[in-house]
């Protein structure tokens, strides 16, 4: 798991992960690259991350992937990420195509639902919580 201030260097990360697993005998490598879309007049998105819980979440996924003979990797931005640059890359390596296609879907969807990351629109220099696009985590409402 890798966290960076500002936009990701997508090519460096993709290539380095490829090299890291070059001799691991995986047949399928599926990265998911998330890029900031120009919409709603934003200049950038901005992210807060709570790293200890993110690390636990990621370690749990690493165990789930290993149980299926695969591995997962992940990189995310902290702070401002301008439009048309990337804030998120996750990837699955697996011996088998079918496992890789299923895992990348589950991993990315659970990431959206449960990774402790908060998103803000940056408009006119101010930072506005993207409440309408945010999802309560599993177990939300415990203290209500």
């Amino acid at each position: 798991m890798e966290l960076y201030n500002g936009p990701l260097d997508v090519k460096e990360i993709f290539g380095r992960w490829l090299d890291e697993e070059a001799e691991s005998n995986y047949g399928a490598y599926i990265p998911f690259v998330g890029t900031i879309r120009a919409e709603g007049g934003i200049e950038a998105l901005s992210f807060d991350i709570y790293e200890p819980v993110l690390k636990s979440w990621f370690d749990g996924w690493q165990r789930k992937a290993e149980a299926r003979g695969a591995i997962v990797k992940m990189a995310h931005s902290i702070g401002d990420v301008p439009v048309h640059t990337s804030s998120y890359i996750s990837a699955v390596f697996s011996p088998k195509r079918r496992v890789a296609l299923e895992l990348i879907d589950e991993f990315v969807e659970d990431f959206k639902a449960n990774a402790p990351i908060w998103k803000y629109d940056v408009i006119g220099g101010s930072r506005i919580y993207a409440e309408d696009r945010s999802t309560p985590m599993d177990g939300a409402g415990l203290l209500k």
Binding site: V53, Y88, K112, A140, G141, L142, L143
Partner: protein
């Protein structure tokens, strides 16, 4: 004494309180008008482990984190 911290957009400084379980934490946070509206949509971690039981027993020095709705990616 335990410590409660508010993550991401909640924007409130940590508070310390006496609490034997998360139910006690819930009761105290409901008294805070700026926090009460968040509670229905927030998840909870104790010492960085997600917790889903309201009767979870706290000990002195525990750190309770309040996690609002997320949107990574």
């Amino acid at each position: 004494m335990i410590k409660v911290e508010f993550l991401g957009p909640i924007g409130k400084a940590p508070v310390e309180m006496e609490a034997k379980t998360l139910a006690d934490v819930s009761a105290k946070l409901k008294e805070d008008e700026t926090i009460a509206p968040w509670l229905s949509k927030c998840a909870v971690a104790v010492n960085d482990t997600m917790v889903k039981e309201l009767d979870f027993v706290l000990k002195s020095g525990d750190r309770v984190s309040i996690l609002p709705p997320v949107c990574g990616g």
